[in-house]
Symmetry: C2
């Protein structure tokens, strides 16, 4: 075998078939790929040698025969996944099938800056690694969601409004000084969209995840791919001016933004104006859960406001699922009813004929799950794997 | 060489490098791919034999040496491209570099139905083929833009409002009974977006093309790919309800849609209400060109209405270019000024920092150019080419 890059890309290609975890025989692999049996045998051996696939015993076999099926070995490597919020963070270890093996969550303050927060992340990840009996060399990649826009190619936050000290900070560089593996950084709503899709909608290629909490943002998956836009700020729908927005000031400096009217704090402000004591997202959620009519009406109106913006989103990208998540989504149907009311009455019929608008199924887990997917996808990708084989 | 599918995919991969038309030596190809010189030589021979690449004489050579560089042979095959409008159609022959070799336009009535219109297309294409000295076997693929939503996978129009008789019609099947090659059908605004990008913005990966004419629609390119959405109706932004839409009835059956307020006929209706004689898009364009103040103001307001919807689009997909095309775009800056006024004041600063909002550079050519790109991209794609090599 003198043609090593070609072998590498061939091995990688075979692995792309096997990474779904479904066991296949050599004969099945030959049929799927059109490759010669001898080629398949050589490539299977190579992937076994790398530990990326394992032999799976034939279930109907009564013993004596050697194992004849092969599948992804999820335990070959692990990834570190982290979901960094403004005031709360989760770090986890996942295997190559994206299964979370260990996880821990803690209050943090993102404004403490990158050194403090990334040190916390690294320490936490190493503790969890030890807990599952692995160490640094087992880590294939690191995936991180952060609460602000990120330049995807470099992994650097880009003018993030609620992350003082992080603008342009080289998150991958900092972490790679400790664990030299690929580091993928993305906006937290993007990682949530990935997590939601993997968990609840694995066969859906066009999904919009909308996070409603202290802020409002969206993660867009079109044609099976996360869309980040030209500057990595795709999905930033919280600062669109809405019809009833008027002159209400927004934290962004503009007026009448969706976020200034329909976020958790905005709903709380509306309630305070009617004499109801409410300050935080949790206050609003509690009031709704206790049947407070003012709170229910305010939440429904927020849903309509969000629906007004989503109407255009639906028409532009024609998703088949809109998943409503974030801490405000815990109020349940009242918020979603408002969204549905407007989207279904104001969008083009063809775009809503097969559209589901539902509550997020992953809840608080979505972010860290998505971060693990970012890391696993990269670690198992065709090019990265081909490069890995070529250097073996 | 017994491993034919592998050879096929290797040849295809090499060709993906060469299809940009830049001549490369065998040594350069070996360096770019990491493949052994002997492998490169075999694959170059195979592509030469298929006629897909040609030897390009070394310009500094003084003769005597054999040609040492290779590049795409654009004349290897041709594609048929067609842009079918409601009342006007263009058919063209293009080479594999996407260059239009011959073209003809004629008034048609799309409502005459598929048999009449596709017969016209086929006759016209064969006349043009003869004109450039080619025949049916030289055709590698056919690309067509139609004025309505299309199910991309099957190439069938899907409930197209202005194409009576076409709903679910098997356009590829009809054409393949005459010329048995791949037929790619898409919405005309999608083909326009492709044409605009190829002509004016080849290095832009996030572009929104907005067609403003009798109707209003958009073609969305994100991350370098045309986005069609779950049902193929992505970009259908003409039926979003706008702030000043009120109860104005729309042809879609809803009220207050963007198209009911800001399309060419809608602007003409506004002008008639002020006593100005205007009925068609052309009337409005003429009035603006002659400096009619009412017409200029109406066009500017239409621009603001369109800008209102585009504000959300910009926030959602973060394009770097919005190209305004369609017959109404001929009014020039007044329309675009209205769009810019609203988009730049109401979108998140990060999403507009590097955003250009410009008039389409391709004009009436965009559609047929894009249709030729659809066809060429498919004909030269990795999989199609690999299958072609494997059967050689």
């Amino acid at each position: 075998m003198t043609d090593s890059p070609s072998l590498a890309s061939g091995v990688s290609e075979l692995f792309q078939l096997l990474r779904d975890g479904v066991p296949r025989t050599r004969a099945e692999l030959a049929k799927s790929t059109g490759l010669a049996r001898s080629t398949i045998a050589a490539r299977v051996d190579e992937l076994m040698r790398m530990g990326l696939i394992t032999a799976v015993a034939d279930k109907v076999s009564t013993g004596g025969r050697p194992p004849s099926q092969f599948a992804l070995n999820p335990a070959a490597r692990v990834v570190i996944a982290a979901d960094l919020g403004a005031s709360h963070a989760t770090v986890a270890i996942a295997d190559l099938a994206g299964t979370i093996l260990a996880e821990s969550s803690e209050p943090i303050d993102i404004a403490d800056g990158p050194d403090a927060v990334l040190s916390w992340l690294l320490d936490g990840a190493r503790r969890l690694l030890a807990q599952v009996g692995r160490d640094d060399p087992a880590v294939a990649a690191i995936g991180i969601g952060v609460p602000g826009p990120v330049e995807h190619s470099s992994g650097k936050p880009s003018t993030p409004p609620i992350m003082p000290g992080w603008d342009g900070f080289d998150i991958p560089g900092w972490l790679q000084a400790h664990i030299p593996v690929p580091v993928l950084v993305d906006n937290d709503v993007n990682t949530m969209a990935l997590g939601e899709r993997a968990t609840a909608w694995p066969s859906v290629d066009n999904l919009l995840f909308v996070k409603i909490a202290t802020g409002i943002g969206a993660g867009l998956i079109s044609d099976g791919h996360l869309q980040r836009g030209a500057q990595g700020v795709a999905g930033d729908i919280g600062h669109v001016h809405i019809a009833r927005g008027g002159d209400v000031p927004c934290t962004c400096g503009n007026r009448g933004c969706l976020e200034a009217l329909a976020s958790g704090p905005a709903i709380a402000r509306t309630l305070r104006a009617t004499g109801v004591e409410a300050h935080t997202v949790n206050d609003v959620v509690d009031l709704v859960k206790h049947g407070n009519v003012d709170a229910i009406q305010a939440v429904r109106q927020a849903g309509r406001d969000i629906g007004e913006v989503l109407t255009t989103c639906v028409s532009l990208v024609n998703p088949s699922v809109i998943a409503i998540g974030g801490s405000m989504a815990r109020v349940g149907e009242h918020l979603i009813a408002g969204v549905r009311e407007v989207v279904y009455s104001r969008s083009a019929p063809l775009a809503t004929a097969h559209l589901s608008i539902v509550q997020s199924a992953t809840g608080a887990e979505a972010g860290v799950l998505g971060a693990s997917i970012l890391a696993v996808e990269h670690a198992l990708s065709r090019d990265v794997l081909a490069a890995g084989v070529a250097t073996v």
